[in-house]
Amino acid sequence: MKCIAIVPAYNEQGAIGGVVDEIFAFDPSYDVIVIDDASADGTSAEARDHGALVVRLPFNLGIGGAVQTGFRYAADHGYELAIRVDGDGQHDPSELRPLVETVSGGRADICVGSRFVGSEGYRSSRSRRIGIRILARTVSLLTGQRVTDTTSGFQVLNRKAIELFAADYPHDYPEVEAAVMLHKHRLRLAEVPVRMRERQVGQSSIRGVHTAYYMAKVMLAILIGALRRRATPLEDA
């Protein structure tokens, strides 16, 4: 099976090499594509040195636009399975096995590594936990399926999910809206418990005053997304 690892990275010079190495250590047959979201540091060169394909965006698109670039590449090149791993090293590729098996075994179209579904604790600030819980409840309500971690970017996708996201993927903070989109398109989502590491370098893109903006924007997006019938890819319009 033709598999690809999609790694979005923004100013992750210090972490990206290790992430690429770990993916190859998990499965050397995978292609690894790093989407450099217009980093100011040596992220691209570092990723290339470690054997990854590198797509360098001409300007910063944000996580959604960056990840979608990877989905487009995967869709164009006939990949049947895609894994998504963040470039900051907080996802441990050695935990991918159960996620990959869930998707390749046909039990789901997309499998998300969740910090909350199992017993493994996840340390985080109180406000962030509450925010994540509110989003998870809303998504669970809208999709009629229990979803525990709507903000996890640690995912495995099959061809159907790759094609959907290549055609239409939410922009700023994509995972929450994507969960609703999947439901609309009748793709099956599963969650598997994972541990996530502390960030090695850098900070979450969601913090401080951004949290309020993030919550408002995402709630608006998922509520309207729930009313929307289908994805309407711009290019087909």
Partner: protein
Amino acid sequence: MIAAGQTPLTVSLAASAASLLLLLIVFELIRSRRLRERYALLWLLTGLVLLALSAWRGGLNTIAGWLGVETYPPAVLFAVALLFVLAVLLHYATVLSRVSDQNVILAQRLALLELELSAPRTAKEPAAAAGPETTTQ
């Protein structure tokens, strides 16, 4: 019911002149290709409606009467002008959203094309040669 107020003549003249000026500026911008027709339509409509309401004094007074604006009919002019400005702004917000979506797609396509051009495949090619590549357009 109280009779509707009257629009002062000077107000009608000044408002008509301002509406005409707006129309002239919009026409000039289209003529010199600084404004595309599709984005000028709302502006032209704004200018025409405001000109009509300014010049047609009886009409403005009557409409003000309908709306219950009894003392100062030109207030209706402000309200109509404000509504049109809101419409134009909202229209621009949709245009801006579309342009930024297209911009994202362009950036993604450009970046993917650059990858195809610069490094067709890396040294990892043999491991991944499971099947023929589907060609992109």
